[in-house]
């Protein structure tokens, strides 16, 4: 939406392959993206998962994904659903990362994984 030196963090987008009528042959940066797939839906900007840690985790603390497990300082504090795990796995293959952090909302804590 703009011009300048710094993009707004809340307005990030993945450019999709063009829907060319003529067709251009090879796939692009994405491994398997077809002309008709919206990469912004396949690899959403954020994934939020409720954590199940017994103790309160520090706000903003870094979370690690190890397979379907969400880890804080080596301890398992949450779990990706099967579909979330598939999404993250595919998007990592596409070249994106999903670093995570702890966020609190109301009485619950969540792992917020943001596409980079």
């Amino acid at each position: 939406m703009g011009s300048g030196t710094t993009r707004k963090r809340n307005d990030s987008v993945i450019i999709n392959r063009p829907k060319t009528k003529k067709g251009s042959g090879a796939n692009g940066g994405g491994q398997d993206q077809t002309q008709y797939e919206d990469m912004n839906t396949i690899c959403p900007p954020t994934i939020k998962i409720r954590l199940n840690s017994q103790k309160l985790l520090p706000e903003g603390a870094r979370l690690i994904l190890e397979n379907e497990n969400i880890l804080f300082s080596g301890q398992k504090v949450g779990l990706l659903t099967k579909s979330q795990f598939t999404t993250v796995t595919q998007c990592i293959t596409e070249g994106f990362r999903y670093p995570g952090e702890v966020v609190s909302k109301g009485e619950h804590q969540y792992g917020l994984f943001t596409r980079k």
């Binding site: 939406m1 703009g2 011009s3 300048g4 030196t5 710094t6 993009r7 707004k8 963090r9 809340n10 307005d11 990030s12 987008v13 993945i14 450019i15 999709n16 392959r17 063009p18 829907k19 060319t20 003529k22 251009s24 042959g25 090879a26 796939n27 692009g28 940066g29 994405g30 919206d38 990469m39 912004n40 959403p44 900007p45 954020t46 939020k48 596409e94 070249g95 994106f96 917020l112 943001t114």
Partner: protein
């Protein structure tokens, strides 16, 4: 008049700028434009833009019929517009036509959808799944007996989605049917430090949107962004080859917020004003930009929704004060 660099570091080549191959696309990209590249063109995953190293670059270039701006020509217009164009936000659409006395007004593309086009979830914008343009938007009371310019300025999440889906949703047919007085071309982003291929691609996308709209009988005002002197040279060349384009637009909403941004905007505007005879609609500009261009005042037209936003805040404040007063009164009467 030279182009103002935001700071001296931008004149120095970075490691990434040396690896940028955008210069191969001369004359549509000048070799010097790569100097400002500040991140890797390799494996950017099409984050926000495309680069010279994109594996499907050929496909992206076919999509826009090459980076040559001169394959996208516009008739443009020579609209007679006043110094100020009020851009009416959605919240005031139901207001009576007398609410705004100006005969030429603006409306933002983000406000012509049924519902909100974007949702902010977990701090990131996403396109609403039920995106639908309200083709009756100009039937709203506030627009009666007014000429309405569509300001095609929006967040990248929305603009890129509309561009990608333009054929599926018949974007240009739909916009033409609404019968706007004129439509600016979209303000696809140009950020310093990114690959110049992405810049040139975005400039061409904007022009092609204008071509499609003109094919459908719409008056088009090309939106101009430039973050490098050579881009301005190409814009001036394009304007000379499209001499009936007498008004262009530039969105300054993001640029006005920082010194660097304002420097970029003022340098670009000054260059365009000194080297062409166009008038410029500045959307979302402010005094800090306008005061630096005082000598060109007669050719600058300020489009803004600022006054309405202040009014909205005032209305909200009044409603808040009224609600609090009501609650306090109720408590008092219960106590009594």
């Amino acid at each position: 008049m030279g182009f103002s660099h935001a700071n001296d570091n931008e004149k120095t080549q970075s490691f990434f700028s040396l690896l940028c191959e955008s210069g191969k696309f001369s004359p549509y990209i000048h070799v010097d434009e790569a100097t400002a590249v500040k991140s890797s063109c390799q494996d950017n995953g099409r984050r926000n833009t495309i680069t010279c190293k994109d594996k499907d670059l050929a496909g992206f270039l076919i999509e826009v019929d090459s980076l040559n701006m001169n394959t996208a020509n516009l008739k443009g217009t020579n609209l007679l517009i006043g110094e100020y164009i009020p851009v009416i936000p959605k919240v005031f659409f139901k207001s009576p036509e007398t609410f705004v006395s100006n005969k030429i007004v603006g409306v933002s593309i983000s406000d012509i959808f049924v519902g909100e086009p974007l949702e902010l979830r977990d701090g990131r914008y996403r396109v609403s799944p039920n995106l639908k343009i309200n083709i009756n938007v100009l039937q709203n009371p506030v627009f009666q007996n007014k000429k309405v310019i569509l300001m095609f300025d929006a967040r990248d999440a929305l603009l890129e989605h509309l561009w990608w889906k333009r054929d599926d949703i018949k974007l240009f047919d739909t916009l033409a049917k609404i019968k706007f007085f004129a439509i600016t071309t979209p303000n696809f982003s140009l950020f310093k430090g990114e690959c110049p291929i992405g810049h040139a691609w975005n400039i061409k996308k904007g022009l092609l949107c204008g071509v499609e709209l003109e094919k459908r009988g719409v008056i088009v005002v090309p939106h101009v962004y430039a973050v490098h002197q050579e881009q301005l040279v190409r814009w001036c060349d394009w304007l000379k080859k499209n001499p009936t384009v007498k008004i262009i637009a530039m969105n300054c909403q993001l640029q006005r917020k920082s010194i660097d941004g304002r420097n970029i905007a003022v340098s670009a505007l000054r260059y365009l004003l000194e080297n062409t005879d166009v008038d410029i609609i500045l959307n979302g500009s402010d005094k800090r930009i306008l005061l630096q261009l005082e000598q060109f005042k007669i050719r600058l037209h300020s489009a803004s929704s600022g006054v309405f936003k202040k009014l909205e805040i005032k209305k909200m404040m009044n409603s808040f004060i009224y609600k609090n007063w009501m609650e306090t009164s109720r408590k008092v009467s219960v106590t009594l």
